[in-house]
Structure formats: structure tokens, C-alpha cells
Subunit: 363 residues, 4 copies
Amino acid sequence: MTTPVRPINLFEYERLANQHLSQMALDYYASGAWDEITLRDNRAAFERYKLRPRMLVDVSQRDLSTTILGQSLQLPILIAPMAFQCLAHPDGEIATAKAAAKMGTAMVLSTLATKSIEEVASVGNQTPQWFQLYVHRDRALTRALVERAYAAGFQALCLTVDAPLLGKRERDTRNQFVLPSGMELANLATLTDLEISYKPGESGLFAYFLEQLNPALTWKDLEWVQSLSPLPLVVKGILRGDNALRAVEHGAKAVIVSNHGGRQLDGAIATIDALSEVVAAVGDTAEVLVDGGIRRGTDVLKALALGAKAVLLGRPVLWGLAVGGEAGVGHVLELLRDELDLAIALSGCAKLQDIDSSLVLRL
Amino acid sequence: MTTPVRPINLFEYERLANQHLSQMALDYYASGAWDEITLRDNRAAFERYKLRPRMLVDVSQRDLSTTILGQSLQLPILIAPMAFQCLAHPDGEIATAKAAAKMGTAMVLSTLATKSIEEVASVGNQTPQWFQLYVHRDRALTRALVERAYAAGFQALCLTVDAPLLGKRERDTRNQFVLPSGMELANLATLTDLEISYKPGESGLFAYFLEQLNPALTWKDLEWVQSLSPLPLVVKGILRGDNALRAVEHGAKAVIVSNHGGRQLDGAIATIDALSEVVAAVGDTAEVLVDGGIRRGTDVLKALALGAKAVLLGRPVLWGLAVGGEAGVGHVLELLRDELDLAIALSGCAKLQDIDSSLVLRL
Amino acid sequence: MTTPVRPINLFEYERLANQHLSQMALDYYASGAWDEITLRDNRAAFERYKLRPRMLVDVSQRDLSTTILGQSLQLPILIAPMAFQCLAHPDGEIATAKAAAKMGTAMVLSTLATKSIEEVASVGNQTPQWFQLYVHRDRALTRALVERAYAAGFQALCLTVDAPLLGKRERDTRNQFVLPSGMELANLATLTDLEISYKPGESGLFAYFLEQLNPALTWKDLEWVQSLSPLPLVVKGILRGDNALRAVEHGAKAVIVSNHGGRQLDGAIATIDALSEVVAAVGDTAEVLVDGGIRRGTDVLKALALGAKAVLLGRPVLWGLAVGGEAGVGHVLELLRDELDLAIALSGCAKLQDIDSSLVLRL
Amino acid sequence: MTTPVRPINLFEYERLANQHLSQMALDYYASGAWDEITLRDNRAAFERYKLRPRMLVDVSQRDLSTTILGQSLQLPILIAPMAFQCLAHPDGEIATAKAAAKMGTAMVLSTLATKSIEEVASVGNQTPQWFQLYVHRDRALTRALVERAYAAGFQALCLTVDAPLLGKRERDTRNQFVLPSGMELANLATLTDLEISYKPGESGLFAYFLEQLNPALTWKDLEWVQSLSPLPLVVKGILRGDNALRAVEHGAKAVIVSNHGGRQLDGAIATIDALSEVVAAVGDTAEVLVDGGIRRGTDVLKALALGAKAVLLGRPVLWGLAVGGEAGVGHVLELLRDELDLAIALSGCAKLQDIDSSLVLRL
């Protein structure tokens, strides 16, 4: 990191990252769908939950470690799958993977990564890595992705289900978003000679989704997805209790309450508002994670109090990556971990298991 | 369309239209009654409803077509009746009718149109056209309007019931709003030699209403209105369940939940907030439509989820008309249709019948 | 009126009045107690009530007349008691009384008027006039005021009960508010040789209250007040159902739900929020009026729908008085009457008795 | 006081104090933890409670005196424990103690005072003084503090339980907050030769807490704390009914509902929102006090109506101290007392015992 003053929180990373990114990359990362109502609401919703801390608990020794899918993590904060990380820094997903490994947490690698499955796997095997899957119209290609991930040592398959089509991010439409020349989808090399028909005045990614991804995917296809490897299935993009239950019935070991960072269906319920319903629906039958708008340790605490087993951190990782590569990502994770550590102490919790729903109140 | 950058949503059309309209016309179109509380609330209310999308539904083939009053439409978005469209573009209601026909939807022609019933009918017969009726004090004139509409091939009579007097739009009062010389009420030629007594410091339209329209209209008069033609009756301007039920009891085949775009009784409930009560009241006995504040595909989706069969689009049509005549209106409709198409896909609906009330939650 | 452009609503009168008043007078009229929370909330609360208008009612003939205390008024809008009206215009309370009489409504004359009881009575006897009473420590003085009012033909006694001490209006404190030299309390001439001990850095009115008014007044004193004349008693300044009931039990024929325009206890409930409870408590045993924040005809309509028999209009009368003397007050009343007339028509009411509680909904 | 215009409320003291304090001191006093949500919410929450005043009560003689822990106070407003008062004025805690004594109320002296226990005790013995305790890792040091306080005549021990670690106040982190050279923790002289390991880019106070205070304190330790002296125990920093009850079960005679002025766990519930639950939980078994955001007499009134026996005033005391030393603190207390006196009068209460829960309504 070359910046003289080190950021002291994730918001400062966001501001600093603006200076390190092209407008097109910044817009791609920062934007939400349509009027960005859900993007804003993901944040605003956290403020509606008030904390009710307990006092006079011995919090001298604190432990943030947890177990997700039977895999040990040093903190309940995973790195959400995010595409095109080389837009933020030349080291891209490699830097992110190294930082995650150093912090003892899991990174979820995007299908749309700009580093290959194998490269990423090679740096991060101290901690679990998960692979995020978009099911393509081309089933062979989809199968190949899963097989490569499994072979490379990834430990879970995270299927994104909220993007049968790409949400409309108007900043990308205005920018006619495309990857810079020379940057490519590292795991989809077979696609390079495909002719993707960009419509003028459109986002290139929107066109890609329309042409390549399978909008006909249904619950029944989860069996096929699971048949491709022995990896446990995590279903990402659930906002309803009934859907969460259905995912579990079809084999999911965990669900991620997510609205894709406000980038798909604008007006969708904030994730923290949807969390309780999902937790109540699945009970002990699966683990529930949540992403969207996490910026403070207290946000993580609220999510855990509402029943999440862990959270996924998205954009702030990219801000750290843009500002300082691996070190930047690492510092972002450190800051959030330290905030969570202090937040649980001040709430009267020494370990994550001490957190219960009475710690939050929606006012 | 001569604008170099094509708008990508309806808000951009609104901004662009400001450059194409005289201040008097802009004010007439944009304004609401008194403090414009309802005007703003019509929009703000949509944000209070959150979407709860379903995932993993096959949405590869989507269908936005519907049937209203037994008439087939390609999309559940009609064009609301709006007066004086020649203020926006020389082609006025003709351009709007052509665009509606091309998009496969219905236009509701205003009594106060600046193109004649017959002219409009001549361009749009691929899709249904409805005629909006103001009952004048002069019953013969009223009868003549209905008979002409029926003869010209209009397929429904849309009776506006929320304007026994005209709402006070203070911008019009300040502008002493009148039609530009040379522009006339194309269907009320018999009125040209009437002496309308404009009060100085008043809106000319306010004076017209006071002098010409019948503020004594009651439910019983619906029978007389229906006796004028075989056209099915649609009652527009309902905000209460009891009134909706009464409309149905008096023969209405559909009701439109409307507060006249916030232009009549300021402080009236937002239409999306009134919708559920009306839907519950009429049940299956009539179709319910709604207008007011629709700007995004997700707004349409929310309205349908709350039980509307379709929505009516108002001001954005005028912005399109001002910017680009028929092509502008067409593009506005296309944009909204495409947004709705994407919104239902992202909500897990392949066709309108898949939309149910569980998709929305008022938070 | 000498202003070239005539205001078209009460807010415009407020803005215009700013140019006609000294800063000290403007501050005295406009300000509320402490942080002015209640001052603002009186207005904001009206927006929380939404109107649910009825359609297809014959509203061709409308009637705004009503009867309060058995006295006929042409409109359900009285003029609230307000002190020191000569600060706004040399004609002071005389101008206000003339305008009220011309409009067929009642003015409530303040104890702290700058025109005498007799002068005011002489201009307004076509319509009822009420006298507002502050009970002074000096009971003889108090008795004299009531006897003069009765003798002069006033028709009701309006006892203010929310000011045992004067609320702290900080603008007045900063201005060290006093009446301009030459202006006097026209009905308290006996006080001229009293030594009122102004504290430096204080409002003179605050000192007056402290020294002259009786903070020991209790419910039992209502009998003494009523013994001073045969005038019916109206208790002004009630915000609770139990207090309203108690007023009635002690002889009040009407209560006015009021927080003194936000000028006494800051943080007190908005009057429109307190109204329903008072109406429910007194039932048919007394009439309920309300003041505070009325600026639009729809505000009056909401108050009537919530059970008020009439409203009292305060500051806007002063703005009219400042701008144009009697004509200004008259125009203010006309504007509000016309708005109310239109509002009831658009709500499906031809007369005040048609207004019911289903017209409003608190959202 | 040297300022020409005397502040007329506590907000004006705050603005004025900005000119009397170094940026580091101002930031230390004014800031809250992390995003300062709770800091703001402490204030905002008061506005959500509306007052329902009673009328026609004899309020000519008013009495603000009360009894807390059997100790007589002239007003229900104590001075909250606040560290480092010499940052605001050279006289520091001495000035504050003198002002409190003059006004007949209790000051709570902080463990982290910049004047010694004995100095402070020597000025204030007309009124009770309480000693605020942080339990240090060094139990002998902790015991010595309590014994000195008891010996000096302090009358209660106020144990802060919401700070096992120090909250993260980012302004202090940015300022790398430390005491100016020459200023010291007057009661912790034994610490001067301790090596406190400041981390660069950290608040010195944060480091102090981490190194010196005991984060392992539990309910059982309350017995040990009470064993150190016969002083009654007050537990400060409670936000839950169950915790309040537990404090009482472990011997506390009073609890203070507090979130440490928004300086510890950001996102914690506003104190006025937590108060009712605590009051209901402890019933008559202990006294309940509250601090956080008190700026107006009406805030005190609302707290008392919700069941608090008294409030503690924090930052405004420091503003008064910065502006005018003892006189400034005295004037701040006078202003708030006078506001409370007026507020209870206008609510129909002559003494504190007349205040009941029906005076407030959460809207």
C-alpha cells in the first residue's frame, strides 16, 4: 500500500478506491439495478435494527472462529463471489485469495473470474475455497467448470440462482460496459471465439448473460448440478422462506440470503429484512448466510443475531484490492474482524455461540 | 427522434421533455393539485412495497400479454386518458394512438383531446381503443360523444368520476392556463361559440369545468351512460372499496384506481396504497386497473402483485410524445415493457398469471 | 391591498407578510416554544392523514354553513384568539373583526388585544364574537373583562387553560420582545401603572404572564368563571380525552383541541393527532373544535372528518392582516373557504354533515 | 464568563464551546463510536415521544426536589461521570463540583478525573457526591480508589459496566488522542510509571483501557466491589430489563440506563427507548436513572414520565465548563432546571411525583 494515511474503516477504503479505478470499473462495481433502491436499502435496513447488549460477561478471551459446511474458519466473514477482479488490481482474484487464506477465511471464486480456477486454488489451500457457478446454456461447459473446481480442491459449489437474466445496471448501460482489451474470462477460454452480439447502447455483460446463461434453470436442475461433483451445494440468492426450504429439500447444505448486492431486481427486500424469515423456515436443516450492505462489525453482529451463521463481504473487498492489492484486502478483513471482535465484546459475547436473537430489536 | 443520446428510462424522458415544452404546457402536464402531496406520494408509495422474488423458475419464455374486458393486449400497460396532447407534439393523440397500436396496447382517448375521435380511430384499429368520457351538463353533447366513439369503433367507455369540479393546480392558476390560439378541443366543436367566462387569475380549464361539466352526476346516472351505447363501462377515479363495489353493482366491468395523477384532491391516498382494498372489495366481479406514479417495470409488477389486472401510464407518454412524437411514445412503451419483462423474469414469473400477492410486502 | 400579484394560497400570504412586519413582530407571530418541534409537527401531522374520497355524489350545491354553540356560521372556520394585532396593521383587531363579519364567521378576541372590547364589538355584530379570557391574579380585573365582553354583546367566553405560565419562545427572548411604544393592551388600561418587572434578556410578555396571570387556576375555578356572565364556556387548550371530559363535567359547552400553536409546551402532541381521542371522550356532550397548523382546505376537511365541528385559524389571519388589513384577512378567509368548498366536493360531500371518519386514514 | 451574549439554551452552549476547545478535546468530548448512529439516535428518539399535558392544575408552587438513594437533591438532574475535565477548563472537576453543590445536585466523579478525589470532595459536601468506578486489572488499585472515595465522603459508588473495552471513536483514532503533557489522571498516580503501549494510529485512551481495565468482570464481581466499602452501588450502562434485574439481585440500589453517550457500542438502542423495559423489570426494587441526549427540560420530563427517578447530564456540562468554568456549569444547570420547571408547570404537574406515564405517547 502506497497511500500515506491508512484507512481506518471500510467507508474510507471506498472513498480511497475511487482514485484507483477507472470510471467504467468503478461504476461496474458500485452500481445497483435501475434506481438503486435495494442497493441503498441494504445499508439503510441495518440501522433499523437496534442492539441490546448484555453487560458483565467475561469477554477477556474472545473467539470469532466458526464452522461452515463443516469447514473451519477464523471469522464468520467470507468473501463474496465477484466478477472481473483484475479490473481493480492486476493481481485480481489471486490477491484476494491470498488475503483470505492469510486471514483464515473462505473466498468464493466467481465463474466470471479473471484468474483461472487453478491459479487461485494454488495460493489458498490453507483455508477452504468455494466456487461460484453460473449455469450456462452449454451444459458441457458448465460441467467442465465444476469438474475443474473440484479437481483443483475447491470445497463447495455456490450456485447463483437470482440471475436468470442480468439485472439492469444503468451506469453500465450508459458506459456500454465491456472488459478492457486484454482482460478475459479466465475460466471460459472456450468462449473466446464465440461471437457475443453486443447491442449498441447496452452493457456487454448484459449481452453475455442473455446469450450464454440458462434462464430455464429450475429446482429440478439442482440434482444435475450436484451430480457433477461431490461438492456440497450452497444456493445463493434466496429472499423467501419457502424458497430456502425448497433449496434444502433439493439438497442444498446452505443458503445465502442475497439480492446480489442490489444489482438484480431493484425493489427487492433488503437482505437483513429477509433473513429472519429464511432462518425460521430452514431451522436446523441447513446453514444460512447473508450478504448485502455489510460495512461494520455491528452489521455482522446483527446478521448473526438474526440467525445467520456467517456473512459474505462484497464490494469492500474490491475497494481494498483497488487500493492495495493483497495487503488492501487483508487490511479490509482485519478492520472488519477487529470491529466484530469489539462489537461482540461490548455486547457481552465472548464467542459467536453467545450471540442470540435478543441482542437485536427492530424499531 | 433527433436527440443524439437515446434515453434509457422514463425519468430521462421526463428530463428531456422539459426542453421540448413551453413552460405553460410543462406546468400543465407536470403539476398536481394544491401542495402536490398526492403527486409525490403516488411515487413514494411504490418504494414502501418490497419485492420478494422467487428463484429457479423457468423464465426462458416470457409472455406479457393479457386480456382486459375480453380484449387482447400485448402488455398490461394501457395509455391513460390525457387532454390536449397537441401541446406536446403537433401530431398529438394521433401519434399516441399509432404508438399504442404498434405496441399492441390500448389507448384511452380523452374527451378533451385535440384530435377528433374519428381521426384517432382511423389509425389504431389493430388494438382496442377506449374513450374517456366527461359527462357535460349538456346531455345531448354527452350523448353525441359516446355515439361518435361507438360508431368510430372504440371498444370501451371510461367514465371519469373524480372530477365533479377541476382540482386546483396552482401552477395553472399562476399561468392562467389556456390553450394556445389555434388549438382546440377537437371533439367539442359545438362549444366553440360558447362563451366561457374566464376569471382573471384563474386557469381556463378550471373555468371550463365549472361551466360545462356536470357536478351532479351520481351512481344512478351510470345507467343512463350505459344506455348510450353497448360499450362496456369502465369507472375511473375510485379510491375506496365500497365505491368500487358500487360501481360494479351499477354495471361497471372494470374500475380504475386513480387519484387523477394527484391532480384532483390533494392529500388523497396514493393509488398503490388504495389498490388492495379495492381488489378485495370487488373480488372476481370486475377487473381492477390502477394508474398514478408508474415509472418503472417494477412498479407495474407491484401493482399486478397487489391485484391489478393492468396499469395505465400517463405523463411518461407525454414526455415521449414531446421528445419524439410517435417514435418517442413507442420508445417509452418499449422501455417500460422491457423493464417489466426483466422484472417478472427476476421475480420468477414467466407470464402475468404467475404473479401473486406474496411477491410484495409493505415494510 | 397594494401588492400587484394577489396571493393564491395561505403560504403565499405568509411569505408576503414577511415584507410587511418588523423582525420583532414577525418573530413574535411565527415562533413556537423551545425547539419548535410542536410548531412543525402541527403541520407535518396533517400529511400523515390520507383522504379517501367518495365519488358520484351530487355536489352541485354545496353548503359550508354550520352551527356552533347554537350560533350560525357561514363556514366552519373561526378566527383564533391572537394578541397584539396592531403589530400587524394599524387597524388591528378591528380589521379582523370586520373581515370575520363579512365572511359570516366568528372571531375570538384576545384578552391581550390592542383594540378594546367595545370597539371590536361595534363592528361585528352580524356574526357572533367570542371573548378569549386569561384569568389574572387580580380577580376583579378578570371579572371586569368578562362583564365588559358580555355587555358589549360577545356570545361566548373562551377560556385559555394551557398557559399557567407563558411558553418559552426563544426568538422573543433574544429580541427581548416588548410592544412598541404607544401600543398598549387596550383592555387592561388599569394595568398601565403597574410596575412590570422585565428581566433583561427576557421576553416582556413572559414577565407579564409571570406577574399578572394566575397559575393556580383549577377545574373548580371554572364555576367561578361561569358565574361572571351567562356566556357559554369554551375551554381552549385541551390535548387529552380525560381533560376534555372534565371540562364538560365542569360546564364547558365546547372544547378546543389546541397546543397554542406550538407556543407553550414544546413536544406536545400535534393537535390533529390528539383530536380523535378528545372526540371519542366527549361524544355528544360537547362540541369539539381544533386549531394548529391549518393552512389548506384539506386540513379543515381532515379535522372535520376526525370529528371536529369547526377549526380555528391563527397565524394566516395575521399574515393577511399584515399584507392588506381587513381586505387581506377577508381574502385569506375566502381562499380557505374556497379550498374547503372544493375539497368537500372532490370528497363527495355536499354539506358538512356528509363528512364522516371514513374519509381519512392515518398511514 | 467573558462572552458578551449569554447562551439561552444548551445548544447555544455547545456552539459556543467549540470556540473554547482544542480540536482534539472537542472531538474527544463530542464524538460517538463508529458511525455515531447511537449518538444521533439518543437525541432523535426523544422527538418520537409526544407530551400529553394536563390542564387546570394549580402549578403556582413548584418543587423539583427529589430523593435518590435516600439522598436529597434540589433537582432530578445529576452530573454524569466524565473523564478529563481539565481539557475543558483549568479548574476541571473542581469547577463542576462547585457548580453542582451550588445547585443542590450530585456530581458523579470519574475514575479518569484530572482532579483528585480529595480535592473534589473538599468543595462539594453540601450535596452528595458519587464516585464512578472502572475496575482495573489491578485489584489493589481498584480497592484503593474505592477506599479513598469512601474516606473522602463520597456517598455512592457508580460502577460502569458497559466498557470492558473502550468503544471505537474514530475521531480519537484519527487524532491519536492523548492527554496534553502536564495533564494527568489525578487518581491513578501509581500508574505514571507504567508503560502504556500506545499503538501508532490509535487513541491513547483505547490503549489504556486495553492494558489497564478488566474485561473479565462479571455479575459475581459485584459482591467484591460492594465489599470494598459501605457505599451503595449504582450500576451504570444497562440497556435491558433482564440485566437491570440482575444488577438488583446482585445488590445494586440503582441502575443507570445508559449507552455511554453513544460512545461504546454503536447501534445500541437509544436510552429513552430502552427505559420503559428497564423500569418495568425492576419495579420498586431499585431506582432507575437514565442519561444520553438530554438537552431540554422536556427531555427530562419525558424520562421521568417513562419512569426514571432522575437523569444524568453529560456533554452540556462540559460545554458550560469550557465556556465559563464553574459559572458556565452553573448556568447550564440553571437553564435546564428552569426549562424543567416550566415544562412540568405546562404539563399540569407541581412536583415530580405528579408526573405519570400518561404524559407521554410514542407516536
